[in-house]
Amino acid sequence: MRAGAPRRRWPPALKAGLAITLAWVALALLADVIAPFPPNDHNMQAILHPPGRPHWLGTDNFGRDVLSRILHGARVDLLMGVVGVLIPFVIGVTLGAVAGYFGGIVDAILMRILDVVLAFPWLVLLMAIIVVLGPGLKSFFIALALVGWVSYARLVRAQVLVIRSADYVAAGRSLGYSTGRILWRHVLPNAIAPAIVFAMSDVVLVILAGSAISYLGFGVQPPTAEWGLMISEGQSFIFTAWWMTTFPGIALVLLALGFSLLADGLAEYLGVRE
């Protein structure tokens, strides 16, 4: 990746991505108000009700309203994506900046750990760690904290290596600035752009991983409304109630699209090339 001069105008992808993402955030926040039914209310009169009035996206095998569950599920899936990226982001950026700036033995050790973590297929390692910690959202976040930081560390370290020899850093040193100040005020702001862009596409990966792990049964547990879990619950009824699997998947694709566009748009806006 290469950082260049920022462009002024907002690229269309950035606008579209922001619009989709903010729409989802609004839907998630307002789920209590706009969802036509409570997400976990069983209704034995309307089991496997096909899409139509009053269940616009149909009901599941407990008579729960699919639309309402999707709206409430948006909270969980957004939370997975945001928290699941924020923790690795903070850890990775910090370690990458420190390793890149100081180099030496710290850097060498960090790079070896990085190689090892990257050697494992990502989802497989996440699942293996969740096996140790036990299923659930908390385990998912811990596993991500252990595994997800490597990409950020690698991106930031590469940038810092370049920036640390730049003139303005030398100028800062010659002015007697403290190391912490140079790193925090001068190096990091210039090194972080690729990490921010990657974070947006990482949200997509994390949401897909989280929903896949929930689908497999090791993530979010019933009866919580979560899209991957809803798809898994619908799988047994795929022959009779296609809407149970179809709509939560469309929701996933649309949420992911928002962040993918955000990543593309930000890359263009910040002049970061992948």
């Binding site: 090892v116 297929p121 096996v131 140790v132 997509v204 795929i238």
Partner: protein, 312 residues
Amino acid sequence: MNRYRFVLLRPLQLVPVLIGISLVSFLLIHALPGDPVRTLVGMRAPPDVVERIRAYYGLDQPVIVQYFYFLRSLAEGELGRSVVYRMPVSDLLASRAGPTLFLLVYATLLGIVLTIALSVTAARNRGRWPDQTIRAFSTIGLGFPSFWIGLMLILVFSVRLGLFPVSGAGQGFVDRLHHLFLPAFTIALALSAVLTRTLRASLIEQMDADHVTAARSRGVGDKDVFWRHVVPNSLIPTINLLGVNLGWLISGTVVVETVFSVPGLGFLMTSSIFARDYMTVQAITLVFALATVLITFLVDVVTVALDPRVRM
């Protein structure tokens, strides 16, 4: 450093990674709460078996010594016993590796064909509707949940059209191609979304490259320019990306095998997690990591072989 020395020296760089992989796999079992022997052999194992396992893995020794016992067992090809299948894990894995390998190769080939078809169509129609459509596909496709795509394909091609079986791996080559088409296509769809972005971009970059203008100045026609000059120069970054995405590909296989009940390593892993068959989970994690490292290394070698410019 010339190419031959690269091929010889690169494996040496793998050594620390391999040590790290073994350490992580070791920790996976030893970080589990409770008595590791019980983790390994299950709760109902007779006392003499428990004692034998404890001695074999050195579980009464300090942790660092236990790690060397673990390494020794790995070197002997001893991956433990599956408490669920009541057989050596190595035998279990060997019996399940076939469908996974088949699926991986099948999906990769389908993905490559799809990627080339889409990227070439997009690049040759730059800016017009086929290009726009394909670009939209490759952006949306980044967010395809493979398990859901698999179910949708089942819904359309198996339930509605009855073209493909819903599950299983099939017997014999042709039957297997038929059985594994939907799982492979599921993975290929996601893979081609990722690769098409790169290949399209580098095709378009190459179409404007100076050496392409120079070839045209000598009367090389559109078709020849495209296939002989543009495409070879665009493939190298794509092959690199394919190598980088291998871990992601294997992750996808684990999920898709479970969706389609393909009797491979991925399905074995998820079912073993449910059954708390820790030795099997550990062994599969280890095997997947080793496979990733090995294949990434091979991709590196292929890239070097293809690119005459690489001279370290």
